[in-house]
């Protein structure tokens, strides 16, 4: 295990600038979603939830992917800082996963009158992933801090990323046999401006996730540094 300190800020501190740009973009995304994009022909206003729901889902996938990437780096390079980065990425992914479930179920209620639809593959997949990654925290907090916990958390994060396509396939297979679909939903046809609103929202939400990731990482590193300082001063 190399001895690079885990608490050196990896890259420069342009966090405030990042946060400002994110806030601006999120505001822009809302403006686009509500005022620029035309109302959807058949779904009406409830279609506007789509502009946040799908980008949040895509961002959750990105967080889980990022966590697996950092986990791979930890196992390969054995540098302590990747453990913290992988953990924070999983934490972000779980938050956005929960948001996906929340906004998704509100959208389902608005469009089809049911809070939960087993036929909605995306939602079911996120439910499975949410259960999986919640277990990540149960596992992580039940092992004593150290190289062993870092390795095990990393391996589990790798399993998560493999589980995504496998579960998606399973849910699709289950769809027409075990749970015949009740509501068919063809992909939302998007006009030019709708697609633009979607893209702005996607960039905004991704940046939001990255900002929160950097904020939480900074917080966790501060914690670690302070703990070391306290130890140095009190022993």
């Amino acid at each position: 295990m190399s001895t690079s300190y885990p608490n050196r800020p990896a890259r420069g501190g342009r966090l405030p600038a990042l946060a400002a740009v994110t806030a601006l973009l999120v505001g822009l995304a809302i403006v686009f979603a509500f005022f620029v994009a035309p109302e959807d022909a058949d779904q009406g206003i409830s279609q506007r939830i789509f502009y946040f729901h799908v980008p949040i889902a895509l961002t959750a996938y990105a967080c889980f992917g990022w966590a697996a990437f950092k986990a791979l780096l930890l196992l390969w390079r054995k540098e302590e800082r990747y453990d913290l980065e992988s953990y924070v990425a999983v934490h972000q992914g779980t938050i956005f996963g929960a948001l996906t479930l929340a906004t998704g179920s509100i959208w389902a209620k608005a469009s089809w009158g049911h809070w939960w639809l087993w036929s909605e593959n995306q939602l079911v997949l996120f439910l499975v992933l949410f259960l999986f990654y919640s277990a990540y925290f149960m596992l992580r907090f039940s092992i004593e801090e150290g190289p062993r916990r870092a390795n095990i958390s990393a391996v589990y994060a790798l399993f998560g990323v493999v589980l995504v396509p496998v579960s998606f396939l399973a849910i699709r297979l289950a769809e027409n046999v075990i749970h015949p679909t009740v509501f068919t939903r063809d992909g939302p046809q998007m006009t030019g401006t709708m697609f633009l609103a979607f893209c702005v929202a996607w960039v905004a939400i991704t940046l939001l996730a990255y900002t929160l990731y950097r904020v939480e990482l900074a917080g966790k590193r501060l914690d670690a540094n302070l703990r070391e300082l306290r130890e140095a001063l009190t022993t």
């Binding site: 295990m1 001895t3 801090e145 150290g146 190289p147």
Partner: protein, 213 residues
């Protein structure tokens, strides 16, 4: 013998010979608790290093680090021994309770690629006075017999480096004498890192001493 910054004894940079174990400011933490304060150590091939210190000073942690069972939290550790060429005898015998002594050693013999496995197991069991109990389950062994079985397991594959964590515990008089003879035989040929509460017993053999604070 120069004294280390924290008063522990270690050899200066060894002139000749190959360094088998080198630790620089080696530290290990379990969660918030620091189990091993920064330690420097250098042991050459064929040397007999003795680690002493009160309970909780980190002797076991240091030996498990050298054994490769733990990774350092801070500092560096190089152990120039291939995996499988190291014999580790700790507080636990690392043998299956429901397997007989013979079955345990046979399993380890296969995994450690020991040539002429049966003969070597037979000789070791005899030397450690366990031959008559070879078909009995390890679970029925007394602590002393388990410790002797663990020593057989540790020596089975003729290791280049032998790590012994307080090996004399639970051994009765003739068990300890038996271990003394065994260590005397090995000294010089095999590099040994041994932790103990009563250094006098191995004083004659020791070439390097490390006192943990």
């Amino acid at each position: 013998m120069p004294l280390g910054p924290r008063g522990e004894l270690f050899r200066a940079v060894p002139e000749s010979g190959l360094v088998v174990i080198r630790a620089r400011a080696l530290e290990r933490r379990f969660g918030r608790k620091r189990a091993l304060r920064p330690v420097d150590l250098a042991v050459e091939r064929g040397q007999f290093a003795v680690v002493t210190g009160p309970n909780g000073s980190g002797k076991t942690t240091l030996l498990r680090l050298v054994g490769g069972l733990l990774a350092p939290t801070r500092g560096e550790l190089e152990v120039d021994v291939d995996r499988g060429r190291l014999g580790f005898v700790g507080h636990e015998a690392l043998v299956y309770r429901d397997l007989t002594a013979l079955e345990n050693l046979d399993l380890y013999g296969r995994l450690y690629r020991v040539p002429e496995r049966r003969e070597r197991i037979g000789r070791l069991l005899e030397r450690f006075d366990l031959w008559d109990a070879r078909h009995e389950r390890a679970g029925t062994f007394s602590r002393g017999m388990l410790q002797r079985l663990a020593l057989c397991r540790g020596l089975l594959h003729e290791p280049d480096l032998l790590v012994l964590d307080e090996p004399f515990t639970a051994l009765d008089a003739d068990g300890a004498a038996l271990l003394d003879r065994q260590l005397a035989e090995l000294a010089g040929a095999v590099t040994v890192l041994l932790s103990t509460h009563d250094p006098v017993r191995v004083e004659r053999l020791a070439t390097t001493r490390l006192v943990l604070g």
